[in-house]
Symmetry: C2
Subunit: 163 residues, 2 copies
């Protein structure tokens, strides 16, 4: 019964959601790297793909902490976000604005992850799972850093234009 559900259940559900999301992101990043025009953006996507592998391993450890087998659960949000990125890649293929579109798509992905890891970190704290808090905070810090790097790349395009 729904009424009997606890924060621990919500934590596990959300863990499955981001686990699924990370696996989708792992598949999407090489496609995005391949499309990127600028060397810097391609490198950023490739680096983030490697980072994502480590982030999935951390999630495996959080599943262990809650005593559940690591398993994803369809995450409509990330499917929608990635579908939009595919649309931009098609609609702006070979246009000058393609990299800007890829950057925007990647930042939407990062922000989804930032919101999920922030939430999971807060709940892990509330549930007294200190080891999980540390793992989730590590990833949260990485996602924020990646988002900042992408913002810098987007701003650099503005400055190049102005120069």
């Amino acid at each position: 019964m729904a009424g009997n559900k606890t924060l621990n259940d919500l934590f596990v559900e959300t863990l499955k959601d981001i686990y699924y999301a990370e696996k989708q992101i792992l598949r999407a990043l090489p496609r995005m790297a391949k499309k990127a025009e600028s060397e810097e953006l391609r490198a950023a996507f490739e680096r983030h793909r490697e980072e994502t592998e480590v982030q999935i391993e951390r999630l495996d450890r959080v599943f262990e902490i809650v005593g559940k087998a690591p398993r994803g659960k369809t995450c409509d949000a990330i499917i929608g976000i990635i579908d939009e990125s595919k649309e931009v890649m098609e609609d702006f293929a070979e246009s000058d604005a393609l990299d800007a579109g890829l950057l925007a798509a990647a930042q939407a992905v990062e922000h989804y992850e930032i919101s999920r890891y922030g939430t999971l970190r807060t709940w892990a704290k509330q549930l007294g799972m200190n080891d999980a808090v540390k793992l989730l905070e590590q990833t949260l810090a990485e996602e924020k850093k990646t988002d900042e790097l992408l913002s810098q790349l987007a701003e650099a395009a503005v400055n190049r234009k102005a120069a």
Copy 2:
């Protein structure tokens, strides 16, 4: 042809995307407010609904600046994010974790908006549309503030638990 598309086209497409998203959010917030257990959370959702109306008016003005009629375009990302919030509302109805789930869903929405407004602001700068930059920055600041407020509400639950 895709190859002829410009950053201005991408800006307009993304403007339509967030316009659609804001209208969906405007419809979702009263549902979420109605479900919220805590008075503070309900008030936060109601306040954000009013804020969203003003944000849509700002988007109308940005459409005017680019010389286009304000029109939305299906945004798969926000549909996915809102679908997830509906799922949480159903799965955790009448449970103690419902407000935590609503908070998490709202923060996923905020982060999508933060990424989109951040992107649009940067592109408006690049396109030399200073009035649009100002309007988009106002909304961006509001979204960040709302996200912080939601984080505070989530943290307050942790502290209540610890007390």
